[in-house]
Structure formats: C-alpha cells, structure tokens
Symmetry: C2
Subunit: 193 residues, 2 copies
C-alpha cells in the first residue's frame, strides 16, 4: 500500500495538534507504553501488513452488520459505497502507521487530523461525501474493544510464540487506546481534555 496512492491521506501535511509532545509523553506513561511496546508493535506491523485486507473485511463486516454504526457512512439510511471504499484504504494505512511510525510531532498532528475527520469540523470533506455529519464520541471510545479483540487471531497468524503474540497484543491495545484518547480532543469542552 503506497502512501501517495491513497486519496485523502495527508500524513505530514496537516495542522499542528493542540496536544504537546510532553502531554503525549504523560499519556504514554498512563497507558504503560514503553520501548518494549515500540518493538512489539514493529513486529506486529510485519505480521499484519500482508493481512490488512482480511482485517478490514472483519472490521467492515462488523460495521456493516450494525445499523447504528453503518449510518455514519450513510445518508438517509443509504450507505455510500465510494465513501466506504476511500476510507477503507486510509484505514489500512493506519494499521501500518500505528505499528511502525515513530510517535513524533507528525504522528501527533495526524492523530488530531483523524479526530477532526470524525467530527462535523472535517467529516465527509476529504472524500466529498454527504453522509452523517458527526460520529458520536461514545462509539470511538467503545471501538477500543472490537479493534483490540479482533486483532488477536491475525497476530497469531505470524507463527510467533504465544508470549510474543501476547506482547504484540498488549502493545496494540495500548496504541489503540492512545489514539482513541487523542481523537477525543475536538469533542471535549474547552479545557477539559
């Protein structure tokens, strides 16, 4: 999957996050994120890279099976196939970015951008879609569970020892929680994030 070929993927070209790198560091401490997790995620990235399509099939299947989730890709109850497909390509890239990108200023900035794209400030704009204008925050937080639970079998497919799979899974859980946390920023009242 090549960056430049993904429509709307603007990593490294977005506005600065209101969250500082020092605040990110405290958040990392809070989710127990260490250098071991960086290494485990790098390994997870290698295991998951050839499987991104199969992973996205599971996640899109989950969304598609639940009207209260599919509505966010829909207008008046009609799912927008183009929108679903374009977002899917960026979602695939996100799996790799989460595992392999350094969590630096560019990464932090793009987390803020992704958060905004879930809110009325930027939703639909990237793809010229006309779907629901906002994804409710409760589902972003709740998604930590399905995105963490469903990744385990894919991590197991890499042929690594059980302890190593556990380490990759724990690191993935921390990384997903970290990003879901950062994405909540634009939803939260002034000064309360």
């Amino acid at each position: 999957m090549e960056h430049s070929s993904i429509p709307g993927y603007t990593y490294g070209q977005v506005s600065r996050s209101p969250v500082t790198l020092d605040e990110l560091d405290l958040l990392k401490q809070t989710v127990l994120f260490s250098s071991d997790d960086v290494a485990a995620l790098a390994q997870a990235g290698q295991v998951l890279a050839p499987q991104t399509d199969a992973i996205l099939d599971v996640w899109y299947g989950f969304v598609g099976a639940h009207p209260h989730l599919l509505r966010y890709f829909s207008l008046h109850g009609q799912p927008d196939g183009d929108y679903l497909a374009r977002v899917r390509a960026r979602f695939g890239q996100w799996i790799l970015d989460l595992c392999t990108k350094p969590y630096d200023q560019d990464w932090l900035d793009y987390q803020h951008e992704i958060g905004l794209r879930h809110t009325s400030i930027k939703k639909n704009a990237t793809d010229g879609a006309a779907a629901e204008p906002l994804i409710h925050l409760r589902y972003l937080t709740a998604f930590i569970v399905p995105l963490t639970a469903t990744i385990k079998p894919f991590l197991q497919n890499g042929g690594h020892a059980e302890a190593q799979v556990e380490a990759m899974h724990a690191a993935w859980f921390k990384a997903v929680t970290l990003t879901a946390t950062l994405w909540s920023y634009p939803y939260v009242k002034e000064g309360q994030f």
Copy 2:
C-alpha cells in the same frame, strides 16, 4: 464491604442519566458485550471480592507514583490523605458493582453520577475536599489500559482454568470500556456524545 457504611456511596439515589437504556444497549453491542460476559463477570466478582484491598494497593501505587495523576487528589501539590481514603472505599465497591450489579437504570444512573464526580460539576463535593477541580478526560480514557492490564494476575489467583481466566478478563475489559465511555458524557460538547 457494606454499602451503607461507605461515605458518599449513593447508588440508587442519584439523578437520571441522560443516556437511555436503548443507547446503552447499542453501546453494549459495540463492545461485544453478551450474556456470556455477564456470567464471566459474576465469576470475576467472586474471585476479586476477597482481593479488593490488594487491587486498590496496586492502583493507588500507580497513581501515587505519577505526579500527573496524584495531582487530582491534591491541592497545591499536597495530596489529601482523607480524600484518597474516602474515594478508595467507593472504588473498592465499584469493583464489585461492575462485576455483579445488573446493568439497569440504577446502574446507568450511577455511571453518570461517577462521571460527574470526575468533572468540576461534582468533583470534591462528596468528600468536602479542596483538590484539583477536574480530572482531564484524556486520563479517564487512558486508564482503560492500566485498569485492564493490572487485573489479570488477580483473576488468575482464583484457581480457574486459563480459558476461564481469559473469559473473565475479556468481560472485565468490555465492562471497564463501557463505563469509561459513559463517564465521558459530561465532558463532551452538546450533541456529540
């Protein structure tokens, strides 16, 4: 731990949550919460009940070791011992409630109350404390990780088979994410929860 003996514990006596039971049901679906999880949590409650003090030692140790967390129990950098102790008793009760209470209207209402108690609307009021007026939402969400990761060894202490421990742990993860999600309500901009 008896309810009536816990200062400030007002389960069943609080205002109605703005979240409906139908919305709770959709959230449960989103975190993959099923009747199997209810059963696994009931079993977890039995395993954890005699260990609540040891669990709270771990959690309070984690908070105490991080100035960016301990500040929420502090005024001008000075931790409030009374406040810490009173909240600790309710936190212990919460472990049992999460595992054993039905997730009905009373439960939903108390989740909203706990959320409020983390915000400037109600923080400190229950205990007449004078600590920081608000816990930032980012740490509530981030806490899903330490509260989930640290419970595993305590679940293992019950002498159950590994698969059963995994089931209890998965159910706990879902329940903690569900509550952290509900608690975010008062932090979120109108209409975006």
